[in-house]
Symmetry: C2
Subunit: 196 residues, 2 copies
DNA sequence: TTTTGGTTACACAGACCTGTGTAACTAGTC
DNA sequence: GACTAGTTACACAGGTCTGTGTAACCAAAA
């Protein structure tokens, strides 16, 4: 269960450090010198592993692209658990928004490569939601999945500027309403009614 | 009603151009040289009007901070119209996300000044929603207002990476469900039920 | 006309950036 | 021991950036 003692390769160490600095401080704000210095290697070594900073940026984003997995818990629970995990991440003080959105924001629209992977990531999450909703027998799973990712990305953006983990809880409450409205049982009463 | 023929001041011309370039290409991506060149003035003139690039950035964000006004239309309509206007803006090809979120994303967390104005903007929009909801007699206007801004920011983030104006429509549909759930009449049937 | 305020052209300091070139060093391997 | 692969230190080219200094210029006001 514990990952192997990790005889971490040089490439991995570079990526790990680039990840930390790029994500926390911004891609444009960090030079390759800084990354090399942080690890304690020479800039030359870094360039021996990555042909350019662009390649390093691409690898950084690829590495951030973790595909969500589905557990054996009930789909509705899985969906709502997404927002709980979001809240935990917001509470951590090394959270700084969605790396893909940030990358698109700071690298601009002309960087096709970055945009492509960002789109892929967003779509993968939407599909994950959709599949869970389909399992639940929701009629228009596609539309509802889109609405759920809006709540996810909205809470991320809000937390980025406000540093308020409660945004995740607000998103979860909204998600519950949307799910109930689609006929999904999420506990705590039927669709309508502001009773208590 | 029409604004005066605008004997635009130098300062205004600089701000206007800075706005266009900062917003479309990114704050870090644009140098003061570029802005001056675009207007056809010397860099010296620019620095005669703004003491530093930071000051220009601050002024750029201040200028973007337009307070939403409320019309005399019914509050529910006003709320939903927000998403229509969002969709129109998404469709325009010079839309590139929320300038405040983008600024925070690319300038990093240490830039207190930028973060402050970004927070103020986000909060002003939340308050606008809340006030409309209070007019409607919604019980927990605060909570619902937060959920609505999540939908707004979520659709903006999604459109930024996907260039898909339909995100605004999806947000609007979700907003309708949330409003109905709070007892607001938004036309098209009562709260629950997927009847057509 | 003279003065004055804003402007221009242009050079430049000082910093930082990406990326390369090179010679020396330090393992491990045959 | 000899060979090899990866690494290091370091200089440097060539570019960009912010911000300043300076002398000339131009137009409108006094």
């Amino acid at each position: 269960m514990a990952p192997p003692p990790a005889p971490q390769t040089m490439k991995e160490r570079i990526l790990e450090t680039a990840d930390k600095l790029f994500y926390l401080q911004g891609i444009r704000a960090i030079g390759v010198d800084t990354i090399a210095a942080e690890i304690g290697i020479s800039k030359r070594t870094l360039y021996n592993h990555f042909p350019s900073k662009d390649a390093l940026i691409a690898a950084y984003l690829e590495r951030r692209f973790v595909h969500a997995r589905s557990s054996d818990k009930p789909p509705a629970e899985q969906i709502l658990a997404t927002f709980d995990s979001l809240e935990r991440r917001f509470a951590a003080k090394d959270f700084r928004g969605c790396p893909f959105v940030n990358a698109v924001a700071e690298l601009g629209p002309q960087d096709r490569a970055v945009k492509k992977i960002a789109i892929a990531f967003k779509e993968s999450r939407r599909v994950w939601f959709r599949d869970r909703l389909t399992e639940l027998g929701v009629a228009d799973a596609d539309a509802l999945a889109t609405q759920l990712v809006l709540l996810v990305d909205g809470s991320i953006a809000q937390d980025l500027v406000r540093d308020d983990p409660a945004m995740a809880r607000a998103a979860k409450e909204a998600a519950k309403v949307l799910l109930r409205n689609a006929g999904v049982d999420v506990g705590g009463g039927a669709a309508k009614g502001k009773r208590s």
